[in-house]
């Protein structure tokens, strides 16, 4: 549109916006390293103690571990279920796609609280009493990342023209299943990885469902953070900042991967 330098007004507005958006982050960051910060503009003295405390806190490490394995399991399960399903739908039943869009848009349009209500009611009694267990949570997580996984896998399939690839492989004598494993999967893998990592980061930041479904029994990092907010501000800051840095690194990896795919596509 234009390559000239932005005028004074846009610059001022964007500067204000950035200050506004980054201020809470900055404050949390400073707080995590502050020994003593009461009524001065900047902390009086600094320390790494809060981070040390954090890593010595056994409950933190447990929560971290719980978060990691719950998220990984959910993403793996989703991959195992979604890959063949989306493949079959995209390649063999493209007419179902509009219906799939509806299924996929629902988790977006329905807030977490509402989803939690339904899940709790459906599974707190009767034949499937799995309330408060990790099974329920993994199921809920599956639905949370459904849109990302579906969209990601589908776009990858479309961008490598899976149907043509498959036809070519079959004409060359490959069986359908081996064509899927040997031809389609390697080609869509980078795109699928991006969706998987994205899904992982979404789940890692999930609080509503976790807290409502299993909050009393299983502590993920978010639930742990929530519990600690009231206790020590500095420690909580250290956790929040570590969490944020972790997510940032993850998104950097995602970005790199995404760019690589884009580069290949060109």
């Amino acid at each position: 549109m234009n390559t000239r330098k932005a005028g004074i007004a846009p610059r001022t507005f964007m500067l204000l916006l950035m200050v506004y958006l980054l201020l809470p982050l900055l404050a949390t960051g400073l707080y995590a390293f502050a020994q003593d910060w009461q009524n001065t503009l900047l902390p009086r003295s600094w320390t790494l103690g809060w981070f040390r405390d954090m890593f010595q806190d056994i409950r933190f490490l447990e929560a971290l571990w719980t978060s990691l394995y719950l998220c990984v399991i959910s993403v793996l399960l989703s991959l195992a279920v979604m890959l063949p399903a989306v493949f079959v739908i995209t390649v063999y039943f493209p007419r179902w796609e509009s219906f799939m869009k509806g299924v996929v848009v629902l988790p977006y349009a329905v807030p977490g609280v509402v989803a939690a209500v339904g899940l709790i009611r459906a599974y707190s009694s009767g034949p499937f009493d799995i309330s408060g267990t990790a099974y329920l949570l993994v199921g809920a997580y599956f639905v949370v990342i459904l849109p990302y996984m579906y969209q990601g896998i589908r776009n990858s399939l479309l961008s490598v023209s899976a149907v043509e690839l498959l036809n070519a492989a079959e004409l060359l004598g490959a069986r359908r299943r081996s064509a899927f494993v040997n031809v389609i999967l390697p080609n869509i893998w980078p795109g699928v990885m991006v969706s998987a990592l994205l899904s992982f980061s979404v789940l890692f930041g999930e609080f509503v469902l976790t807290n409502m479904l299993v909050g009393g029994h299983i502590q993920t990092i978010q639930v742990y953070l929530f519990r600690r907010v009231g206790e020590s501000g500095h420690l909580a800051s250290a956790i929040a900042i570590s969490y944020f840095v972790f997510i940032l690194l993850l998104s950097a990896v995602l970005m790199k991967l995404g760019m690589k795919i884009k580069g290949q596509a060109k």
Binding site: T3, A6, A9, P10, R11, F13, M14, L17, M18, Y20, L21, L22, Y31, N39, T40, V81, P84, F87, V88, V105, L106, A109, V110, P111, G112, V113, V114, V117, G118, I120, R121, A122, G139, A140, V143, L146, P147, Q151, G152, N155, S159, R176, R177, G191, F207, V208, N211, L213, Q222, F226, V229, A236, S237, F244, I247, L248, S251, G258, M259, K262
Partner: protein, 307 residues
């Protein structure tokens, strides 16, 4: 042929099962629950009657609607100005600014509430600092009340609004401005007669998403005010997973009402997106991403991923 069909069914079965179990059944259960008596038997509309007549729930609904509407409007206004500003920058700078803004949108929920407590809470850095300096800008301000909630909600609304709105500005073609100028329109007249009307689908669509986003926001509010402020989402949470006594039927009813409001808002967004595609055939956001919803989280990343 038979084997082929079996293969296809085998591939689809787990997916169908999972969607049924964790999406369809819960929604169904919630719907039926909302029409059940407190003891869990019999059909009744009493829950809805109660939800809409009880002063307590009325207040929760009113608070939620007000906070959502206000935070969406503020977020939209700021987002609109910033989205316009951001299109004035060179693409490289623009992308960097968007990345920063996206980055902060990861800072939501509990950590965000926490950051605001550090800054403006009872013992917050700014609170104490301003007290010491004798400034009283925050005298009437209480982070743990409605003004605080608005402030925090606006914080997570702005990056979202910015992200949803800025592509629409690229839909305003430079030649429209030129044609309008030659026909005698001033800058403001152009925006009033052509620019804003062209943006209006994007504006209303974004408003829908922002509203749904705020209505459903739970973590931030819960972490900030706990049960102290009467919001629909927080109320639902305590009704079904509370520490004291749970009322799943009432929770279901309120949840259905909440879901209706967000579904309506999202529906509005979809309609607007379609209208945008009608204008000049090509929506600035592009077809795949245009549902707006899919851009809710890390859209920059998704864009990079070629989606």
């Amino acid at each position: 042929m038979k084997q082929r069909e079996r293969g296809l069914i085998l591939a689809l079965a787990p997916f169908v099962l999972m969607v049924l179990a964790f999406q369809v059944v819960p929604v169904f259960s919630m719907l039926t629950g909302s029409f059940r008596d407190a003891d869990g038997a019999g059909f009744t509309l009493g829950n809805y009657q109660h939800a809409l007549s009880s002063a307590y729930y009325q207040q929760a609904i009113k608070n939620s609607l007000l906070i959502s509407a206000l935070s969406s409007l503020i977020g939209l206004a700021v987002g609109l100005v910033c989205a316009y500003c951001i299109t004035r920058f060179a693409p490289a700078v623009r992308d960097r600014l968007l990345m920063l803004s996206n980055m902060t949108s990861n800072f939501a929920g509990v950590p965000l509430a926490f950051a605001y407590i550090i800054l403006l809470g009872n013992n917050g850095v700014f609170t104490l600092l301003f007290k010491q300096w004798g400034w009283n800008v925050f005298d009437g301000f209480n982070l743990y009340s409605w003004s605080g909630l608005i402030l925090v909600y606006v914080y997570f609304q702005i990056p979202l609004a910015l992200l949803l709105l800025y592509p629409a500005f690229y839909g305003i073609r430079e030649q429209w401005k030129e044609a309008a100028a030659l026909l005698g329109a001033g800058t403001w007249q152009f925006w009033r007669t052509v620019g804003l009307p062209m943006l209006s689908p994007a504006i209303f669509g974004t408003l829908g998403i922002l509203f749904a986003n705020a209505m459903g926001a739970y973590a931030t509010a819960y972490a900030l005010v706990g049960g102290n402020y009467n919001l629909l989402a927080v109320r639902i949470g305590s009704l079904v997973a509370g520490d004291v006594v749970t009322q799943p039927q009432m929770g279901s009813t309120l949840a259905v009402l909440l879901a209706l409001s967000t579904l309506l808002a999202v529906f509005l967004n979809q309609r607007m997106v379609r209208r945008m595609e009608g204008f000049g055939g090509r929506s600035p956001a592009g077809r795949e991403r245009s549902s707006g919803l899919f851009r809710r989280r890390w859209p920059a990343v998704r864009e990079e991923a070629g989606q």
